[in-house]
Symmetry: C2
Amino acid sequence: MPKQKETAPSQVVAFNARIEGINYDILEELTGYAVRRAQLSIYADFTASLGVYDITPQRFSSLVIVCNNPGISQTRLAEVMGIARSNVVAIIDNFEQAGLLERQGSGDRRSYMLHLTKEGQRQLEKYKQAVKEHDDRVSQHLTMKERQQLRALLGKLCMEPK
Amino acid sequence: MPKQKETAPSQVVAFNARIEGINYDILEELTGYAVRRAQLSIYADFTASLGVYDITPQRFSSLVIVCNNPGISQTRLAEVMGIARSNVVAIIDNFEQAGLLERQGSGDRRSYMLHLTKEGQRQLEKYKQAVKEHDDRVSQHLTMKERQQLRALLGKLCMEPK
DNA sequence: TATTGTTATACTCTATAACTATA
DNA sequence: TATAGTTATAGAGTATAACAATA
C-alpha cells in the first residue's frame, strides 16, 4: 500500500478505527457504526488503488452487472444497484462516450438493452484484476473462511422480519 | 418497520442483496461489495428511523464523541471521525445554532473546546434510544455472539500489513 | 394509465486549497 | 513556520419531481 505523496501531507488523516484516549461510548457496540467505519476505509483504499483508472465502486459494479447480464435495461440496472433510475443515465452516458458500453434498441422502443463493447470487456478485465488485488489487500488479515463468514453475516443484516 | 407512504411509491426500490435472475459474477466474492451493500441498507434504515429528528449517522457520531470527550477540539474531532477539518465546521455550527453544543474558549486562542449543553445531553439520550432500536432491528437476525463476531471481523479490515 | 429514459434540481458527504488569527 | 478554524469550491452519490415518447 504505497503512499503516493510523502512530501505533501493532506489535511485529512487516514481513518483509524480507534484513536487512543477517545471514549467511543455506545458507538463501540453498534453494528451500523462498525459497518460504516469499514466501508469508509475500504472506499478510501479502492479509490487509492484504482485512481489510475476512471472507476469507482459504483461504476465498477455497473460494468460487472451489464457484462454478466447483457441486454439489461437501465431501470432494471437501477433496481439491481439500489439507486434511482435517473442516476443511471449519467453512468451509462459516461461509459458510452468512452466506448465501453452501448445502448441497443429493444423491442420496446421506450427502453434500451445495455451491453459492453469488446473494448469494454477488455477494460473490465483489467479493472477486475485491480479490484481483486484491492479486495485481497483490504481483507489480508482474514482467512478465506473468515471472509466467507463475514460476507454471510453481512448478508443477514437488514432482512425483513417475516 | 412501518412503511410510511403506501400510496405514493417512490422511484427508488429498496436495496436487495440479491435479485433473482441476475448474475453478480465477481461481486459475490468481494468483501468490499458486501460491506457497501450492507452499509447502504443500514443507512436507509437509519434515516427512515431517525427522520423525525434532524440527525444522520455522521451527526449522531459527532454528538456521542463530543458528549463523551468534552473539551475536544474541532481538529481532533475531525481526526476521530476520519473527515476533513473543514467539514466539521458546518456540523458544529448546526448543533450550536440548535443549542445542543457550545464552542468554549481554550487556553490556545486558535482553538475551541467543544461540549454539549444540558439540552444537547437531553436530546442525545433520545437519539441514542432511537439508534439502539434501529441497530437492533437491523441486526435482528444475528445472535449477540454473531454481532460481536461481525464487529470483530470488520475491525480486522484495512489494517496495515505490519 | 403506466412505464422508460431523461432533465432539472437539491442535499449529504467527502475532498483540496487558501485565508486569518494565533502560536 | 506551523496550527486551528474557516471559507470557497468541487465532485461523488444519493434523492424527488416532472416531462416526452411509447406501451
